[in-house]
């Protein structure tokens, strides 16, 4: 078990190193970053000055090493636009994005798990197929469009919820629902297939032979075993949701990390973009590690090692 987690941790570090390279390479794609920063109206001298000031005249490997070493020690550079340390900008906005992601995941789990269980218990029936179409609808729904529809309906027509911002808690409801939609299909499908497998297993027959109640059979004996892959995928989905929140934050004008990234992209503020890529990737990698640990807790076979 220790060995297992150690291997996963080493892998995580290697993934992070790769992400560092990708994030760096990303901003050097345009060829001359200084031109991009300077913008369309800059003179040739401006570009030269910028190149000097930001150290862009040095060889690429040197630039990378400087940046990566600084990033690894927590210094993510300075924003061109805000003229402030990037980490501060991100730290300010991270709670909104994380909150949104957790609420989205909460909605998604609260929908996907009961529906997945129900579909598995009624496998092959009309109800199962009806639930299956929920998956298909969730998969085909463009999230930004769903966001706009909710804004029109609940924000404008019914006026139940605020249409933008998170000054009050209910500002999270609509974006949370939209975000949940993207995670529901995978979670539901997995819960269903895991439960079908668990419910047809020998130990469930034993549980029934012991005369246990249906709720104990389904929720205690089957769900516990079906939960392990769901935990892994939930962690991955949360990572995807945080990465995908850029769309939803823009639609609902939530000033989280996604919004910051979008703003920075459109204004060529690349240290911020790089940093957000790095932070989101770190969170994703951390979440997959967390999922490994939770599975080790859930599955005694992994724990015993």
């Amino acid at each position: 078990m220790r060995k297992f987690l150690l291997r996963r941790a080493i892998l995580a570090v290697m993934v992070m190193l790769t992400v560092l390279v990708v994030a760096f390479a990303l901003t050097r794609l345009s060829g001359d970053l200084a031109v991009s920063i300077a913008g369309p109206n800059a003179t040739a001298e401006d570009v030269v000055t910028i190149r000097k000031n930001y150290g862009l005249d040095r060889p690429l490997p040197a630039q990378f090493v400087d940046w990566a070493v600084a990033a690894a020690s927590g210094d993510l550079g300075r924003s061109y636009l805000y003229r402030a340390p990037v980490w501060g900008l991100i730290k300010e906005r991270l709670p909104i994005t994380v909150c949104l992601g957790l609420i989205g995941l909460g909605f998604a789990l609260a929908t996907a798990i009961p529906l997945g269980i129900l579909a598995a218990m009624r496998e092959g029936t009309l109800l199962d197929r009806a639930i299956g179409s929920v998956t298909l609808i969730g998969q085909a729904m463009p999230s930004f469009w769903l966001g706009l529809l909710l804004i029109i309906t609940f924000g404008l027509k019914l006026q139940w919820l605020p249409i933008s911002g998170v000054d009050t808690w209910d500002g999270y409801v609509m974006p949370g629902i939209v975000l949940a939609f993207s995670a529901i299909p995978a979670l539901l499908r997995l819960t269903r297939s895991g439960m079908i497998e668990a419910l047809s297993s020998d130990y469930i027959r034993t549980a029934r032979a012991k005369g246990l109640s249906t709720s104990s059979i389904v929720l205690k004996h089957a769900l516990r075993n079906a939960a392990m892959p769901v935990v892994s995928v939930a962690a991955v989905q949360l990572g995807f949701m945080l990465g995908g929140s850029i769309v939803i934050e823009t639609v609902f004008a939530l000033h989280g990390v996604g919004y910051l990234a979008w703003e920075s992209i459109s204004k060529n503020d690349f240290p911020v973009v790089q940093a957000v890529v790095l932070v989101l990737a770190t969170i994703y990698v951390g979440l997959t590690l967390l999922a490994d640990m939770m599975n080790a807790v859930l599955d005694p076979r992994l724990r015993g090692g």
Binding site: R208, A209, G211
Partner: protein, 319 residues
């Protein structure tokens, strides 16, 4: 004496048209070991699962009589039968490796039976579990309670399954090929254990097996099943002394019976396999494999009573 379990004319069909059990009748008396024997696919497990109401979804079950003590199992809703399962009637299965939940400790899985049926605390349940683990011959029961199934060997897991089945002092224990998946030496130990428990506790034991050697060691009564039917039922002694159905004889030729088979004598085998029987099948299902098959075997087969408790269905035995 009233039988603990009484089944008359049990029929089970599956949605794919398989008639897995066709008109099975059998009785299990208190304190008696009743063996159901037959090759794989004869409908033994389906018969046992019918009693427990554990048939897979989609299976159709009907019976003239299916009574456990005073409980009419044909009329009871599953949630009422569930109150009997694990309490008054218990079952153990062929696959000890997969029959325990990998996610919970042995103790937790055993204790919950008592919690469910006797509404006792977890601590009481664990005490009872430890007591029974000792009874089924597991050393250091206290330590075992905290272990997970994957930490135990197949033989130990089957002992745990037996102990778990005994948590509420059942009157009927159904054991579906409890030793088939185990090593030969472990098989013998488990059979010995079942026999001694059965005698100590006065259990009615419905023991399912494909091995007449097991029958010879365990049974007071025997029902021989073939293709969903009981083709011969008799007192164990009478069956081994005078097997009436060609299928029973074929099975007997396949196994060495202590005291009957001379050492070194070659064993036979029945050529062919058990056919899948659909609804509305007429005639003897064994006729394609039977050395004595005659034209009459394609028609209705008479039921013959050779003695008050020796019955068979075969065209020959009546003549």
């Amino acid at each position: 004496m009233r039988p603990v379990l009484e089944i008359t004319n049990l029929n089970v069909g599956f949605p794919d048209g398989t008639a897995a059990v066709r008109g099975v009748s059998l009785q299990v008396m208190p304190g008696e070991t009743h063996c159901v024997v037959g090759e794989s696919g004869c409908g033994k497990s389906v018969t046992a699962l019918s009693v427990m109401n554990l048939l897979p979804r989609g299976a159709r079950r009907s019976a003239d009589v299916m009574r456990f003590h005073d409980h009419d199992l044909t009329r009871m809703a599953d949630r009422h039968i569930a109150r009997l399962r694990g309490d008054k009637m218990a079952m153990i299965f062929q696959e000890p490796m997969t029959s325990l939940n990998p996610a919970y400790t042995i103790g937790s899985q055993m204790a919950e039976v008592l919690e469910r049926h006797r509404h006792v605390s977890r601590a009481k349940g664990l005490d009872r579990a430890a007591e029974l683990l000792g009874k089924v011959g597991i050393t250091a029961p206290g330590m075992r309670l905290g272990q997970y199934p994957h930490q135990l060997s197949g033989g130990l897991r089957q002992r745990v399954m037996i102990a778990m089945a005994l948590m509420c002092d059942p009157e009927l224990l159904i054991a579906d090929e409890p030793t088939t998946a185990l090593d030969v030496t472990v098989q013998a130990q488990i059979l010995r254990l079942l026999k001694s428990l059965q005698q100590q506790l006065g259990l009615a034991l419905l023991l399912i097996t494909h091995d007449l050697g097991v029958v010879a060691r365990m049974a007071q009564r025997v029902s021989v099943m073939y293709a969903g039917q009981v083709v011969e039922s008799a007192d164990a002694k009478a069956l081994f002394a005078a097997p009436a159905h060609p299928y029973t004889r074929g099975l007997l030729d396949c196994v060495p019976i202590p005291g009957k088979t001379a050492p070194g004598e070659p064993l036979g085998s029945i050529p062919g396999v058990v056919p899948r029987i659909g609804e509305g099948y007429v005639g003897c299902a064994f006729r394609d494999r039977c050395a004595y098959a005659a034209p009459a075997c394609k028609g209705e087969i008479p039921r013959n009573r050779l003695s008050p408790d020796h019955e068979t269905i075969c065209t020959r035995s009546g003549a």
